[in-house]
């Protein structure tokens, strides 16, 4: 019984991905069955339409900058929260994790009406700020877990041998947190790359990949997006490959 349900659930979850892949090779601009022949024209169209390439570059830039900023901020925060006892410690922990429970429309609209409109921050900056805020919880959680599981005696040993606390952290502790940072960074990068709802409030006239795709779906009905979608499956496929090989899948889904 539970076996049957499991198979059906997996099938249900994969059906949209299978459908897009099948339709992406359709010769006609329809989503129907049976197929009228095979073609790669929609793949050619993905590269012929400038908005996807522009959006993709913008999304990559946002995800890279947001993730890098978040790694630096998260590492410092994790060190403070794990290594020190100070007033406001658990409040700080809760605050950096809080973006995960703030609805995206709330965050997007708040930044739009206040930071963008009142503070007059340039739109591009407001987007970087949004994406850094969005991804910080995923990284900070991972680094805190890494630091808690780390044997601090290694760092003490390095200091006994004459390293300054900073050098000991940089050369001994940080490298051993590599896997945790990587796992957090990958999840963060993808969260940023795929973010749609909050981003919609701040894209103005410079689309990201998801907002460009959304506009295309709203105005055109042909399998171009299916072709793009099939190409983009490379992203989750590489996450699974990297996750299984090095980082542990359990860690990536937040356990």
């Amino acid at each position: 019984m539970s076996r049957l349900v499991s198979v059906l659930v997996i099938l249900f979850l994969f059906a949209p991905l299978i459908a897009t892949t099948l339709i992406s090779f359709n010769a006609t601009p329809t989503f129907g069955f049976p197929s009228q022949g095979l073609s790669l024209r929609w793949y050619a169209n993905v590269f012929a339409r400038p908005e996807f390439w522009v959006g993709f570059r913008h999304s990559l830039l946002l995800a890279t900058l947001g993730t890098l900023a978040a790694i630096v901020i998260s590492t410092l925060t994790a060190v403070a929260v794990v290594r020190f006892r100070f007033p406001g410690r658990s409040l700080m922990n809760a605050l950096v994790m809080s973006p995960i429970v703030i609805p995206e429309v709330v965050l997007g609209l708040a930044i739009l009406v206040w930071i963008y409109a009142v503070l007059d921050m340039p739109g591009a900056w407001a987007l970087y700020l949004l994406h850094t805020i969005l991804v910080i919880p995923y990284i900070v959680r991972m680094i805190i877990a890494g630091l808690q599981g780390y044997d601090i005696n290694l760092e003490h040993a390095a200091m006994l041998l004459g390293a300054s606390p900073f050098r000991a952290f940089l050369l001994i502790t940080l490298p051993s947190l590599k896997d945790h940072i990587m796992a957090g960074a990958i999840v963060a990068f993808i969260v940023s790359l795929h973010n749609f709802t909050a981003t919609m409030f701040l894209v103005l006239n410079r689309p990201t990949l998801p907002t460009a795709v959304y506009q295309y779906i709203r105005t055109e009905t042909d399998p171009t997006v299916a072709a793009l979608s099939t190409l983009l499956l490379l992203i989750p496929l590489s996450v699974v490959a990297v996750g299984r090989r090095w980082l542990g899948l359990d860690r990536m889904v937040g356990r």
């Binding site: 403070a80 609805p103 429309v105």
Partner: protein
């Protein structure tokens, strides 16, 4: 980088400067959102936006729709995720890793593109309808989307991996010998599940419920694409009023209401969980 002596009392705050700057910026923006929602056109304080949101049926409808769909989505995902998580527990490690990999693959593929995949499947001339008509099972297409059913399919498809991850993690922490003991004492598999496995997995269920409710309240793409304009959820309402119709102050009030609802839901789930923990001695301690 360890705390040594009292001279370093200021050190943690130095480490926190970037995080404080960042959290201050979004807290300040949230305050700005509340401020905007309470400001009338003349610049005075007014609850008019909230009064309109809660009394005008047209404005209240998206909130009601969102809550209704969130509850149904949560029930459906929990009902579907339990059998899967239970089954995963009985698998060999290799098979289990395969299923986990498949779920991660779905989870980390683009949500928007998965919704597009559902359009291909459920559309009037989509795969399912054309397949049914080609095989002669029906003469006219079914209306599988552009209604609440289509949106619900999208919401469940989006939220299901989260619930499975949460339940799989919770079930993995249960000591098998507890269930074996119950079975040895004569409990039927159903009774063992109902009286032992289910209560012990409640912390995971609670985590899953919070996650599913959050993504469902967040949902903007699923109703926009699969609802075809017939289903307006709260996120669509906020976006349309703020960007499309330029009614920002109404949109800010709607956003504040969404936030309040989310916070209330989380508090309610935790309150129920605490009561439950007192009664059964189950806590979610040990979660990462």
């Amino acid at each position: 980088m360890t705390a040594r002596g009292k001279g370093l009392a200021v050190a943690p705050y130095l480490f926190l400067i970037p995080a404080l700057a960042l959290t201050a910026s979004f807290l300040w923006a949230l305050w700005g959102l509340v401020h905007e929602s309470l400001t009338d056109p003349a610049g005075g304080v007014s609850f008019e936006n909230y009064r309109r949101m809660l009394t005008v049926p047209e404005y209240r409808a998206p909130i009601v729709t969102s809550l209704r769909l969130a509850v149904i989505t949560t029930l459906v995902t929990a009902a579907l995720a339990y059998p899967v998580a239970l089954h995963m527990r009985r698998m060999t490690p290799v098979a289990r890793l395969t299923v986990q990999s498949m779920l991660v693959l779905v989870f980390f593929s683009d949500y928007l593109l998965r919704m597009f995949g559902l359009i291909i499947l459920l559309g009037r001339r989509g795969l399912l309808n054309s397949l049914l008509m080609w095989t002669g099972l029906t003469d006219s297409p079914f209306r599988l989307m552009h209604n609440e059913l289509g949106v619900l399919v999208g919401l469940v498809s989006g939220a299901l991996p989260l619930m499975i991850f949460a339940l799989d993690a919770a079930l993995g922490r249960i000591d098998r010998s507890t269930e074996q003991a119950a079975a040895l004492l004569g409990g039927s598999p159903l009774r063992v599940f109902w009286h032992v496995t289910l209560p012990l997995s409640v912390p995971g269920l609670a985590a899953g419920i919070v996650l599913v409710l959050l993504v469902t309240v967040n949902a903007m793409v699923a109703p926009a694409l699969l609802g075809g304009g017939f289903v307006v959820m709260i996120s669509n309402f906020v976006y349309d009023r703020a960007i499309g119709l330029d009614e920002r102050s109404l949109a800010t009030a709607a956003a504040v209401i969404v936030f309040a609802v989310v916070v209330l839901i989380i508090l309610a789930v935790h309150a129920v969980l605490d009561r439950f923990a007192l009664r059964f001695g189950v806590t979610d301690r040990g979660r990462g």
